[in-house]
């Protein structure tokens, strides 16, 4: 079975840990800077007053003038989520996190450990912690497990057996499907309000009307495809942070601090000569809240200049001055060596290359050596940009 643990409104809950008194008042997660002004998850008090997640900010404030907007705190959310994942891993669950607040795992291995499916899921809920009000669901399909966890009450476990799958999904709302807002409206206008109604339509007709996304949603409404769950590889725990005596917004200072952190971090013995694959930079903002950017390097490296070139420009995106800068090596490679080039490119090699090509041509026949000719380098279709043309001269 596939199990899912869901913590609804996780980002809001994580942000409220700094201001727990707001949890009982009508409050909502503030819209993300630079995006559409849509509010995030809301507290129960706000929900009772008619404020819904995803509402436009203006509409939400008109509905509830006393609504408190809680600043986003992505670094705190990520840290809290990582703690939860590690706690689940410590309890023996090989977790596959989908997003902060939603994690999947395969129960087969742990059922015997805890004496059955439900005790295992209860153990998982306990590992997350009752303070987060986690909900658990299990089914043979990933989407069905997610649906079960979403409709469960805090602390409740819902197990959907294979023969009950269709009956369980049928009355559930369409909002469980990963669709755009316009699609929900389109489906509701057609009188389709539940997963069962959508699943009952012919697949081809849904695809024709709603496109590939609709077709995918139709597949999920019927239970979704069988997919395996693969436990994640726990991230590295290497980080360095610097706290500033006063708020800093000057980019030059920030870049210097970043360079100092990078040098210290790369010199840490725990790195054990491994290369850096994924790196994150985060900051605590002066007015509260946090900021975080993660980058996966195209080629794993320990070259300071390359890491600096990839991350330092992101410092310009900081919205306000900061009081703390933190650099993390999120993922390191297993290997600690790199294959060097066989031939270094240089003018003296061209003669040898030409001679080599002549020999290849002589032994394999004409047409074996080609040259690349750009025909439409501006094309968005990669195979339309260039041709390789046989070259015999």
């Amino acid at each position: 079975m596939i199990a899912c643990i869901a913590v609804p409104g996780f980002e809001l809950r994580a942000a409220l840990r700094r201001a727990p008194s707001l949890a009982l008042r009508p409050s909502a997660l503030a819209p993300e800077a630079g995006t559409e002004p849509l509010i995030g998850p809301v507290t129960a008090a706000a929900d009772a007053l008619g404020v819904r997640p995803g509402m436009r900010l203006g509409e939400a404030l008109a509905t509830c003038p006393g609504l408190v907007l809680v600043e986003r705190d992505p670094a705190a959310a990520e840290q809290a989520w990582e703690e939860i994942l590690r706690s689940l891993e410590d309890a023996g669950f090989a977790v596959d996190p989908a997003e902060p607040g939603c994690v999947f795992f395969e129960t087969r291995g742990v059922e015997r450990l805890y004496g059955g499916l439900e005790p295992a899921l209860q153990r998982a809920l306990a590992a997350v912690g009752p303070g987060w009000d986690p909900q658990a669901g299990a089914a043979e399909r990933r989407f069905a497990a997610l649906a079960a966890a979403t409709v469960a009450r805090p602390g409740q476990v819902i197990v959907v057996s294979g023969d009950r799958l269709q009956d369980f999904l049928a009355p559930l709302p369409l909002s469980l499907l990963p669709l755009e807002r316009e699609r929900y409206a389109e489906l509701e206008a057609l009188g389709v309000r539940s997963l069962g109604q959508l699943a009952g339509l012919p697949g081809a007709a849904v695809a024709e009307r709603l496109g590939p996304d609709g077709r995918r949603a139709w597949g999920l409404a019927r239970g979704g495809a069988a997919a395996k769950i693969r436990g994640r590889r726990p991230p590295a725990e290497l980080f360095e942070a610097i706290e500033f005596p006063e708020a800093v917004g000057n980019e030059l200072t920030l870049r210097r601090a970043f360079s100092a952190l990078l040098d210290t971090l790369l010199a840490r013995p725990e790195r054990r000569d491994r290369f850096v694959r994924k790196v994150a930079i985060s900051a605590r903002l002066v007015g509260g809240g946090s900021w975080r950017r993660t980058t996966t390097l195209r080629d794993p490296t320990v070259d300071r200049e390359r890491i600096r070139a990839a991350l330092a420009p992101k410092l310009a995106e900081l919205p306000t001055p900061i009081v703390e800068l933190r650099l993390e090596l999120v993922a390191l490679t297993e290997s600690d060596g790199q294959q060097l080039e066989l031939l270094a490119a240089g003018a003296e090699d061209r003669t040898r290359l030409r001679e080599g090509l002549r020999q290849v041509r002589a032994s394999t026949g004409s047409g074996s050596v080609c040259t690349v000719v750009e025909v439409a380098p501006w094309s968005r279709i990669p195979e339309a940009r260039a041709l390789f043309v046989p070259r015999d001269d």
Partner: protein
Amino acid sequence: MVAYPGGARAVRSAGRLNEPRPARVEVNFDGSPWQVNHQAVELVREEWRVLDRWWTEEPVSRRYFEVVLESGENTVVFRDEECECWFTQRGA
């Protein structure tokens, strides 16, 4: 009779560079790949769509993913929305 020396060359046709190759891809419920050619996807670096030639009889509609595989290999895969098949591609 002497054969025209350019004849052999004239019939050779040019090939396309970075032609897509069929791939075996397993996807999550949101359509993103979690396995490519039997290798697990470590992370999805980027995702984009290409819609082109919609005015012709051979429209191009692709959903691209740049992924890092378990082995550390970077690769680009896309789902052709027209034929509903997956391909890998270099140069994307």
